[in-house]
Symmetry: C2
């Protein structure tokens, strides 16, 4: 039943080959890889104002320009650094890979943890901001923000569990729609002002203004830095480009940087010209309202911003499971996370991502201003680690032109590390503490997991001389069998007969609450005419495991160290899902307890139950 | 770890023998069995007034007297009927047993379902009422009613999971305290009025009064009937009395009826004299306030009423799991509910009861007035079924004096069935619909469960001639073994060696994603020098089950119908609980799928993993 639901919702399984079908050029690579980065325009500038306006009033707009210029400078430094990563890692240079290869395991784990946290926040922030765009235009839905976020994340989860590969080009279109819309808005907005239009003064702007402290400025700057989240996406995706893939990737990265420059810079200019006060609403939508009135373009900007933000969240749905599976394959995460789901998507990762993002949205009530405090630490930390890794690589390899390259990556590492400290410091109380605490815990957990898999690997590994010493063809031990029986029935007789085929040394074992029940089963057993002995033990708790283990250890059984004991347990294979809760409950318990012991093998023997109605209407069973 | 927590909270296991240690006489039997019945005094009269006052104002108090007289009449009819059940069922005559024996399976199931619902409501109503007593005296806690209920139920759950048998006598004392308190209050209350005291007129009593409709009267009467819940407890508990147990039980039942007469009748008189308007508060506490002022006796009445109500809930904690386990033993409920927990208490039933009662309290916000609408249908339905069962019994057996006995039980059956209809009809919209809907669903579910166990029993059962035809000593089939291997390691070699000991017909089976990985494992396998063949299949989904089953069905394997196939799966036995999520996840999946097939036995071979640190620091594993 569950399987059917799953099939309908998730679709048919795909084959491995489907993976490599479609590769991207510039035309589609740009929009597909850019949604995370360009959608940041929807909240970065707005959240700078949200910090500054309550403190310095109208002065905030000028400071927004200052911050925008610094952020754009940072953007181009990052672009240059990442071009070098693309050249060096044509197979995809995620921060995890670059850091692990050049800086060692701990740096790799740290980058992996930072990126994981960042992906979760990409979903939480993008969805919350998307819903904010929507509720700014349609205010009646404001009270239902968390619910709408919930529905969107559920939708993304289902869509991604289905696998989104087939339709990936469709995902490129909204990015172009968004870019065109914002560019038109920038042009028309500037033209109107030039034409003499004087926008109304915004409400809620405080009159009495305090001087701008460094702390407040840096806090605003931290929010501005969220505009840069997502630029690393291109360097991760190099193998998805057509050949020559590094050339295409670098071209896309350059175009992406220019687009961010235009959109982020342009929207800063508009905020300055129109003095919009977001005050918990979406700035882009408000500006669109000022410029276009509540006509077509207003709803066009709202819709395209909403869609691009949802798509930004969607990029995390491919990035996060991919990262986790790379880590899982290396033993840094539970192994089942490395397995591809039915439709070549990583089901477990997708579900993990959805649940944690949803939790964050509930905790922070879908407020972008609150969630933004957690964001960007992870991104910039991974920037720092990737750039530092590249720096170390240049110092080590000393390739042609390594000095200049080292300067670029070194500068990138330095600047982004300063940003990490700024964000962690100025946003600590606002929410960054959650990330600052989670990261070391995550790193600790990852380390422990890796250590465990390492220990297991060593225990399993056999040296060539051990292999030849290991005599598969002839065991050195005696193989004994115990069949616990509850009563004499079809199931227990089948188990006894099977036991006989696998060993000469078989005993049947039963527990009794009192002498009477012991006598009863003994009598019935005797009628079987078998030479398999029946052992009956008194069990005060009506449990099987304890007396069974006690019996094995007792002199009565004369178990010799090294003997292998196979315990045969019956199981009913049921026809209906709800029959499962009616059976096999003790079987699982007994199995779990027995498997804690070294020389015990548990064999489960299924009995296929027929349909209830069939049995009850069949005279054969009367 | 979980086991330790459990030990601390729940205590050591008890042995079977402890069950029969303490038997009750009248002195302790009365208070222990009466708490459910006498505690009803705390809400029955009050909820009659809650219905009547808003409609007929001051006239409500006179009508309360009328209803009280009818209810007390009902009480004595029930007492006489139940004396006859005690005589006929000295081993405990629950409605389930009486109805099933005399009226057939469906009636028994109906009684069982009705009683189950009733036990849950006993907990919900008693705890809500107990908290109402408390918050009437301490108004600041009123907003936290649901939370306090939650804590109390949690407490009852833990105490009952520990097993409460040892201290059962202590549970008798509060009943005496409560009885004495209320009797003193009745005497002092009447004496004060006789002495000329004129109580103040109550607030919130409407001036304009409508005529009393029959519907409203019956609705009030329905609430009054809740005073009778719990009187059946004595007849269920006959075997717990000292011998001659029926004599003691009947004596306790008589005393209990007299006490209810005094307490319920007396508190009606007080309500009439003092014109207390409960209006969502506890009537007994308000009366105590009027009579004693806010001194010692006020708090004494509050505390003893609170305690007796909590104890009433506690009786459901022994009754419900006992009922469910009786039903489970007969195959009317999942079998695991019939198993006694560690401390001779029925853990599963206790948890079920707590969770459902808590859900009801949350849904109805711990309001007694709301919950009372659901109550008493179950009780009176089981009364009806028990009495009808007795009636049929007399008609069938025609024992000495059967005619008079049949008249009493017949009258009981008739009157209680009328009450069922009255409650269901007058309270339907108020909440009774929930019970009216749940009961048929429960009955349907119970019937399905019974049917399934029946079908299973028939499939397992062997006729004597089948037993002798069943040749345990020599199987007629070939036993084959398949060992799925992922790589050549200690675990897979152990499995292969074990396979060889149980059969001559062994194959190793591996899946590969591509030719390269297939070649790699083949090469390594060849170095083993074994004659066990290795089968390698290409698996596009990287899954083992599908290609394995396909292989078994293929001509390549030349499986003959009837052959038994044992599949050996390795499992890691881990040292730490969190290691479990790192392993064995595919094992469970493979096992579940394979066990759906008729001739496949799954053998699980554990490999005991050593401590991570031990392995990593031991040069042996380098």
């Amino acid at each position: 039943m569950l399987k059917k639901v799953r099939r309908v919702l998730v679709g048919k399984p795909l084959k491995n080959e489907a993976l490599n079908e479609q590769r991207m050029g510039v035309l589609w690579g740009l929009p597909i890889l850019s949604s995370d980065a360009i959608s940041s325009v929807a909240y970065a500038g707005q959240e700078v104002l949200m910090v500054l306006i309550p403190v310095i009033g109208l002065g905030a707009y000028k400071q927004l320009s200052v911050i925008s210029v610094i952020v754009i400078g940072l953007l181009f430094l990052l672009m240059v650094s990442y071009r070098q990563i693309i050249n060096s890692y044509p197979n995809g240079g995620g921060a995890f890979v670059v850091a692990k290869e050049n800086l060692g395991v701990v740096a790799g784990i740290t980058a992996g943890a930072a990126l994981s946290v960042d992906y979760i926040l990409t979903v939480a922030v993008s969805i919350s901001s998307g819903v904010e765009q929507f509720t700014t235009a349609f205010k009646v839905f404001k009270p239902y923000s968390v619910l709408i976020c919930f529905i969107l994340i559920l939708l993304l989860m289902v869509v991604n569990l289905r696998g989104v590969r087939e339709s990936s080009r469709i995902f490129g279109i909204p990015a172009y729609c968004f870019i065109i819309g914002i560019v038109v808005m920038i042009i028309v907005g500037i033209a109107r002002i030039k034409g003499g239009y004087v926008p109304p003064q915004p409400e809620n702007i405080p009159d009495i203004v305090k001087p701008l402290s460094l702390l407040i400025f840096l806090r605003a700057f931290s929010n501005g830095c969220t505009a840069l989240t997502g630029v690393e996406a291109v360097s991760n995706a190099v193998p998805n480009f057509k050949t020559p893939s590094t050339k295409y990737a670098k071209r896309v990265l350059l175009l992406l940087s220019i687009i961010i420059l235009i959109l982020f810079g342009g929207s800063s200019v508009l905020a300055n010209l129109y003095h919009v006060n977001p005050h918990g609403n979406a700035m882009l939508v408000m500006i669109a309202g000022e410029i276009f009135g509540h006509g077509f373009m207003y709803y066009y900007i709202t819709a395209s911003t909403f869609v691009i933000l949802v798509l930004a969240a969607n990029t995390a749905y491919s990035g996060f499971p991919m990262l986790i599976s790379i880590m899982a394959k290396d033993g840094y995460a539970p192994r089942q996370l490395s397995m591809r789901g039915d439709r070549l998507s990583y089901d477990n990762g997708i579900i993990m991502l959805s649940v944690t993002a949803m939790l964050l949205i509930i905790i922070f009530k879908a407020r972008v201003t609150s969630l933004i405090s957690l964001y960007a630490i992870g991104v910039f930390l991974s920037f720092t680690l990737a750039q530092s890794g590249m720096l170390v690589k240049w110092l080590r390899t000393r390739d042609a032109g390594w000095k200049l390259k080292a300067v670029f990556n070194g500068a990138g590492a330095l600047v982004t590390s300063i940003v990490v400290v700024i964000i962690a410091f100025t946003k600590f109380i606002g929410g960054a503490w959650l990330v600052v605490i989670s990261l070391p815990i995550l790193i600790f957990m990852i380390t422990k997991v890796k250590k465990h898999y390492n220990a297991v690997m060593r225990q399993l590994r056999l040296k060539p001389e051990e292999i030849s010493a290991f005599n598969i063809n002839k065991a050195t031990y005696t193989n004994r069998v115990i069949v616990p029986i509850e009563s004499i029935n079809r199931s227990s007789l089948r188990a006894l007969r099977y036991a006989r085929t696998i060993s000469e040394n078989v005993v049947a074992f039963s527990v009794a609450i009192d002498d009477e029940s012991a006598k009863k089963i003994k009598e019935k057993y005797d009628s079987l005419n078998t030479d398999i002995p029946l052992i009956t033990k008194y069990s005060p708790f009506r449990r099987v495991v304890d007396p069974l283990l006690k019996f094995i250890e007792s002199a009565e059984y004369d178990y010799e160290d090294g003997d292998m004991i196979t315990v045969i347990l019956p199981q009913f294979a049921v026809k209906k899902w709800w029959h499962r809760i009616l059976h096999n409950n003790t079987r699982y318990y007994i199995e779990r307890e027995l498997l804690k012991h070294k020389h015990i093998v548990v064999s489960v023997m299924p009995l296929q139950l027929r349909d209830d109605d069939y049995v009850l209407n069949n005279p054969k069973y009367d």
